[in-house]
Symmetry: none
DNA sequence: AATGAATGAGGGTTCATTCAT
DNA sequence: TATGAATGAACCCTCATTCAT
């Protein structure tokens, strides 16, 4: 792969990302993607098998690292659930650094192999790990519904930060400010989990 | 408009809502919509100018009432910001009662004039009214960023409830339960808004 | 279906038959078929689901009658195997009357649901019925290989008549002339089948 | 042409033959042919002008020898038309030895310059030589139709043997067996040619 | 001699929209 | 008012062929 083909591949990834974000996977036109990349439609298929492969190539490199990272974060969060703020910040920073890719996965992946990614992530990855975390904290199985809701709300809150149009610097500040809002309530939730059935 | 035309129009609105929810605006086929409504494609254009007009006709009646209602809610919330929980519950009940239409606007409106509805709602409607509310409470302009975040987070929390598959009864219970989590922090936020620059 | 749509359907069947015969099913272009029929490509799909459905619509009506007729022919041939010449003439006349459709099925059906039609016809329909016929004549199971060969050769001979560019009148004459050639040998084959192991 | 070019050319001929047999000339992909040959698409055009030239290069060497051989066979058949069975066996053996190439010409040549090869072979080569043979035997012009039919039927019979999945040994045996069927009738045909107008 | 990226037309198919009836 | 056939552009994708390297 010489530097020119690298450029074309990169240009396709770039315009693909743009078009998928604008119109969703199915709504985006390969012709437009190619035109924006300064390439004919035929050339596309020298780089990607199908439309779906372009989408995958945009998100997969990030996903690889996300999977690795998330396992580390969740491990540490399990070990120290009260002070998992630092760990979560790490995760948020990662997501912020790849906010486009996550938006692709959440909102623009209909018709790809990643369709339903958000639900699988929440119910298949975040929920089980948080459930285990809370169960361990409470010393007993806590209500699944409340955990599920907690996970989804926590997650969407972070997504608001990510998609709110803030810079990473602003996000760091907002999280600090917001901690004032959540910490007191968070402590109460932990207590309630420990006490209530 | 006789009763038959009314039926056809209603059938188109119904099947349009179904198909838009299933496949999004751009993904939905007008032919399928017409077939499901038991109507020919030609007949469609006797009732609606274009595909987009069908979408608008589905959401607009609800939007009219929502705008009216929201102005009422925000007025009362302004008057009693500490106990706006009841007011918000009214709004949530409205959204729950029209959750399909809101989901159309949030997740299925790409390609319509309502594309980006969520952002416009948050930044153009909710944010200004909450900002005014908080400014009035604090007696001075409070930090716009923290208000904007507050609005977005509060909103997404409610949306999780609305789209979490809960019944209205469960939602009421969850909001009460969840209040344990938010109240303490909420009070602190109010304090901070009152005190901090 | 008004007379105009009937015309278009008929025109599509006609130009489809022509193009499929010229270039085979896969080699034929739907755009060309439509152009020859004086119709846009989009219109095609008002009459046929897919390219394959056009092919099916061309051959299926004839096939229906062929199946019925063949069962009749084979029944009579079984009853009077020595003088089945008349029966076979009936079959040949039918095939001649639909020689284009048979050529489609034999030589131009790659890629359609009828792919391999010739082999299925010979091995699945003609062979079993001739085998039964010969077994009954000989009073014992005759060699399957010789029957299979007999069937295939007999069949291809007839196909030569059909595809030889002869008129039906010429074919009748040739079959009569040709009978002089085959009859003597045919008698010997029957004898051999009766005697040999 | 060094040995490497020879290898590449040979590899292209080999994979070309395979792909043309599998998918027909038009259905076969030049890219696949090149990939199977372990060669880039660009390299192909160092050896062949166009796709069609590859097809020609596959069948032409065999065709050259076939034409030479056929002229010899027909010469001897002319000299001894009654016992031309041995001569024909020679032709069949040749075809068997190159059955792939003949199948390319008969069934896979649509779109090449050899399209319609079978008809040209029968009407342009076999028919005239058999016609001359029979005219000479009868001492006068015999009916062209009956000769044409004779040629076509004889040919298709042999082709059934060649493509029936038999070994050369089996084919020899079947021809002997089948002679029982044809000989008697064949004699009558000769007589008829000699006598009838 | 050989590469393989790039072309651009064409493949089958679906689409929102129009219009003669 | 209502039809539904017809349009023609656009969809994703594959093709034989070319050409700068």
């Amino acid at each position: 792969m010489n530097s020119k083909s690298f450029d074309i591949r990169a240009a396709l990834l770039k315009s693909g990302k743009e078009q998928f974000l604008l119109h969703g996977f199915e709504g985006a036109s390969l012709r437009t993607i190619c035109r924006e990349a300064g390439v004919t439609t035929g050339a596309f298929y020298a780089y990607f098998d199908k439309k779906d492969a372009l989408f995958a190539a945009i998100v997969e490199p990030m996903l690889e690292r996300f999977r690795v990272m998330y396992n580390g974060v969740i491990g540490r969060a399990m070990a120290d659930v009260k002070n998992n703020c630092g760990n979560e910040l790490e995760a948020i920073e990662f997501i912020c650094a790849h906010r486009d890719e996550f938006r692709l996965l959440f909102d623009c992946s209909g018709g790809t192999r990643y369709s339903g990614f958000r639900e699988r992530l929440l119910d298949g990855l975040f929920f089980p790990s948080y459930k285990a975390c809370f169960d361990s904290l409470a010393g007993r199985p806590v209500d699944a519904g409340i955990v599920r809701l907690f996970v989804r709300i926590k997650f969407t809150q972070y997504m608001e930060l990510v998609y709110g149009g803030y810079t990473m610097e602003e996000i760091r500040r907002l999280i600090r400010q917001y901690a004032a809002f959540t910490e007191a309530g968070y402590m109460r939730l932990i207590d309630e989990i420990k006490i209530a059935p």
